[in-house]
Each structure stands twice: as C-alpha cells, then as structure tokens.
C-alpha cells in the first residue's frame, strides 16, 4: 500500500503538470523567531479560483506576498506555470496584484494607471491605447479614462485596480482582501463581477480573505489556514460538509458541537453515540481512537431536523430567528456542549409548527464529523 502511494505520488506531477498553474512546495517564512508560514504545500489548477481563507495572522497574506515576490521565503519553492519563481524579482514574475487599498497611482489618470504595466514592458503606444480601452470596457469604466483615482468611488477604484492587474495578461492574479473596503451591497455585486471576469479570461486566481461566506461563494477550491499552516484544501462543499480538521469545522460556517463516544469503526465509516442516538461519521478524523473514546461531534445547523419528542436528542424550543428563506431555531438541549442547538429549518413555517416551549426531538439528517476532544 505504501509502495502504491509512492508510485502515484511520483507519477501525479508529470501527468498533471500541464494543468498545474501554481505549485507551492514546502514554503516556509520566518520573521525573526516567529514562523509566519510552516512548510506550505499547495497545488492550484490552471485557470481556477483558489481562496486562502483564515483569521488575521494565519499566514495567508504572507503566502500572497511570497507569491508576488514582495517577501523572500526561508525555504521551499514556488512554481508558476511550471517555472521556478523563488529567485525571480517581482517585476519579472508576470503576476497581477489587486491590493486591499487598491494602491492606485494617485498622480496618474485611470488610463495611465491601467497602461502602466504595458508601458513598463515597452509595448508600443497605439497597442497600449487599444488594450487599455478594451480592459476599461471589460470593467465598464470606458468613460472614466481621464479621471484621477481620487475622483472615483470605491467600487470604481477597485475595477481600475483589477483592470491594471489584468491588462498585462498575468499568469496569476492575486487578490488581497479586495472587498473589505466596500459597503455590503456593492460587495456582493463586485464578487459576481470579478468572478465572471476571472472565468471569462481563464486566469489562475488566488484570493485572500478572512470572510468565509466570500470564500464559499467565489472559490473553486479553498485552502483554510490557521497559525501559519494550511489545515485543509478542498472544494467549498468539501470544506463545509466534510471538514477534516477541527479548526476548519469551527471556522467555516455555523456548527453545533456535541460530546459523544466512539462506538466502532468499519473501513472508512465510523459510528458515534450521542447519548442513545447513533450517528454515522467518516472514519478519517477519528483514526487511532479506540471504541469508547470520547469525541466531539460537529453537525451543521442545516444537517439537523426537528421532530416529535422522543426521537433523536431531547430538547425544548427556545427561540426563532426569522431569516427570510429559512428560520434558525434555537433548541435548549443537554446533548450539546453549549446547552443550545442551532437548527436551520427551510421555509417559514417553523414558528407555527414548533412554538417556543414545546418539547421536541432533534435528529441528525445530513453530514456530521467527529474529532478527538481538544487537549485541555
């Protein structure tokens, strides 16, 4: 089995090398005694949208700066489109960056900003003019070419920053928390717009954010990071439904945590007992635990259903939070660590069916994951 793994391990890069946009091999970055990034390994498919998600200080911005060449790694290698980038200075990397504050050149017009990278490459003036015009049309700013950045709104400035980064036809586009300065309504619209532009140009994109809903809605794949380490890499659905790491399960989305006991393991499935209720979970996250060991069961609020008293975990309806398309129902229950379960009920009928004070039973209906309890 080990030999088989080794075999596929050596073969995989050759078979997929044409499709790998970015390859990060054991990259480490230290600031003095502080290790901001511990041996990060990551492969990003060409043309895909990868998100680095994590709380502030998790190392995601450090990794972005290493990719852009603004920082030098203490170890490891970075490849973009198969080319070794580790020693390449930022100006030779062909990587477009959209900064958190956009970093538009304040003394230049929008046209000059967008054309800057082309002028730096010695592209003829006429070609610069036409490519800048095309790019401004793509970001819907054709009439704003002569304005100065400070005469634009936040959303317009962001489009200029995007156009400036894309006009050089970069091998890789880096987006550093680009939505944090925008108000909430604009944020949603810009997310859709950037995603559409990214897909139409097919540019490999790495997006850094601490906002898990942004990550889930925009990404092809997400790398969740904390404390300088990549915890899990997967599609938004995998990250949300099948977290392989305790941190990932609690950082992405709402979750209920229930103390449980491991019952038995069978191949890749395992079952745990919450009181008298048996719940099926993937076995991978409870590897090495003996039957009877204490575990924590993580269940999403949309993977629970409310039923008649006597089924599932016992509880009493405590409150309803109306959310438009669904209702969040809070159920007081001794089964959970916090003493209160969050159940997401589709539709708006929950308050009528399950009035406050009613005794109910809560049943797991979807994916659940178990992890060893946190070391005290």
């Amino acid at each position: 089995m080990a030999a088989e793994r080794l075999h596929t391990g050596t073969e995989a890069p050759a078979a997929t090398s044409a499709r790998v946009g970015v390859q990060i091999d054991g990259v480490t970055k230290k600031f003095g005694a502080f290790t901001a990034l511990h041996e990060a390994w990551l492969k990003i498919e060409q043309g895909s949208f990868m998100t680095l998600l994590g709380p502030s200080g998790c190392g995601k911005t450090t990794l972005l700066n290493l990719l852009a060449g603004f920082l030098e790694a203490n170890g490891g290698e970075i490849f973009v489109d198969g080319q070794l980038m580790t020693e390449t200075p930022p100006y030779a990397r062909e990587i477009g960056v959209v900064f958190q504050n956009y970093a538009l050149f304040p003394h230049m017009s929008v046209e000059k900003n967008v054309g800057y990278g082309l002028a730096a490459r010695g592209v003829p003036k006429r070609e610069i003019a036409s490519r800048v015009a095309d790019m401004l049309a793509l970001v819907k700013l054709s009439d704003f070419g002569h304005r100065k950045p400070k005469e634009l709104s936040g959303g317009q400035q962001q489009r200029v920053a995007l156009a400036r980064a894309l006009v050089i036809r970069p091998k890789l586009l880096l987006l550093d928390e680009p939505f944090s300065a925008l108000d909430k309504n604009l944020r949603g619209a810009m997310q859709v717009e950037i995603k559409e532009i990214q897909r139409s140009l097919g540019v490999t994109t790495i997006f850094v954010t601490h906002d898990q809903s942004e990550a889930l809605s925009m990404s092809d794949r997400i790398a969740v990071m904390s404390a300088g380490r990549i915890r899990q890499v997967g599609t938004p659905d995998e990250i949300y439904r099948r977290p392989t790491d305790r941190f990932v399960a609690s950082f992405v989305g709402d979750v209920n945590v229930l103390p449980a006991k491991l019952e038995r393991r069978l191949d890749d499935r395992a079952s745990v007992m919450v009181g008298a209720v048996r719940v099926e979970v993937p076995a991978g996250t409870v590897d090495g635990l003996a039957p009877g060991a204490a575990v924590d069961l993580f269940v999403r609020p949309d993977a629970l259903a409310i039923g008649e008293k006597g089924s599932g975990f016992p509880g009493t309806i405590a409150a309803h939070v109306y959310q438009g398309s669904h209702v969040d129902v809070l159920v007081d229950s001794p089964a959970t660590t916090g003493g209160r379960l969050l159940v997401r009920v589709p539709g708006t009928q929950a308050p009528h069916r399950w009035p406050v004070g009613q005794a109910v039973g809560v049943t797991p209906t979807g994916d659940a994951v178990a992890f060893p309890p946190e070391a005290a």
Binding site: Y91, A103, F105, P106, Y116, A120
Partner: protein, 272 residues
Amino acid sequence: MRRPLSHRLLGLAGKIAVGLVVAFILLPAVVVTMSAFNDKAIMNFPPTGFSTRWFARAFSYSDFSSGFRNGLIVTAFASTIALVVGTGFAFVLDRYEFRGKKAMEAILTSPLVIPHFTIGLGFLILAAQIHAARGFAVVVVTHVVLVLPFVMRSVYVSLRNLDARLELAAASLGARPGRTLFTITLPLLLPGLVSGWLFAAILSFNEFTASLFVTAQATQTLPVAMYNYVREYADPTLAALSVVYIVVTALLLTIANRFLGLGKVLNVEHGR
C-alpha cells in the same frame, strides 16, 4: 439667554491676548518697513517724513549687489547638494534597519544643537589648514551642513507618508526599480523635495553667524555685507533692504503655493 458677564470678559481677554501675540509677531517687520521710508539719514521710529532714496542706495551699493550674487551662488549650490545628500539619507533612514541607525540620525540632526558659530569656526580652522579659506567651497560646505537637517526632515516626512504598496504595485506590473523610482517614488515625493529645497534655500540665503566666519571679502554673502554696512553707517538703507528681502521671500512662497499648494509644500496632510 445672555452669557454671564465673567464669561464675556474672559472671551474679550482671550481675543485681546491673541491680537497682541499676532501684533508682536508682525511688529519688527512693521517697524523696519516704516523706517525704510524715513527721509532722514537715521533709523528712527516713527519716521518723520517720506522718501524712497534708501531703496535706491540699497540697490546701488556695490557690496550689497555682490553679496546678493554671492548669496545666490552659495544658496543654489548648498541647498541643491543638501537636497541630494539629505534625500539619500532620508531614504536610508526610512527604508533600512541597521546598527547605529539612531546614532546616524542624531549626528545628521546635530547641526540643530551645535551653535552656528561653532560650525563656522570649525570649518574656518579646517579650511585655513588646507589654504582654502578664501573660496566659495568652504562657504558652500558650511551651508550644506547647516541646512541638511531641514532637508532631511522634509523628505523623511514625505517618505513616511508614501504608501509602500504603490511601489510594490509598480514592481508587480513589471517596473524595474529604476523605473519605479522615476515614475512613482520621485513624482510622489516632489512636494517634499521642493519644500525641503525651499526651506534650505531660505535658511542658507539668510544665514549669518557661520557665514561671518567662513566668508572672505570676495565671497561675503548678503547678511554679512549688511552686518559690515551697519558697523559703518546707521542710515535706513538696511531697513530698505529688509523690505526687499521680505517682499522677495513672500513672492517666492506665493509662487510655490500657486504651483504646488502650500499645504503640500509645508507637508501638511489634510483630512479627507
């Protein structure tokens, strides 16, 4: 509702105090300006008649015109050299961490602490050793040292206000360091550079104490020539020259303000 009497009295006293301070700042300029138009050959206040003949004398007195010319030469060289050197040091202090950085900063700003006559005397002794005490070089070097802290400060503040991400953005777009310097960094620093140069020029042109030591008859600058004049004559020519000084400096600042904005020239950041 009327405010109590004590409040109104306090308010009045405050206005008077502010008025007095402002008047006090302008007082010397006003006194000198008025006595410049006196018709008698003495500087007295208030003047007893009106005449412009002292202005004519100020412009025709040969020591003044050569002093003016010497001053321009010294100022042009000293503030330009100080700008280049000071900008270099400001970059180093802003961008790099190294041992002895604090010490370097202290030494570079020490001319603010060391008396001008000490600096002048020191350079005079040194220049005499190498038989260079009669040329422009020693005057220019002395002035460079004196104005360097001001230039450095001005450029340093502009560098601090410059967003480092703009340079990173330029680099990511393919600009080599030289291109970034000339298309991003220097254009954005321009107001700081101009204000630094302007301060240096005004200080250098007005500098007297150190200049008294290091200038010779052939290289004496305008303030030194004025000092030598006042030792021999007591007529209002000096007052007339002072008025010219004030008008020219004000004119220069107005032009700088017109083209760059005084806020920028003085490195004042306006809240948006």
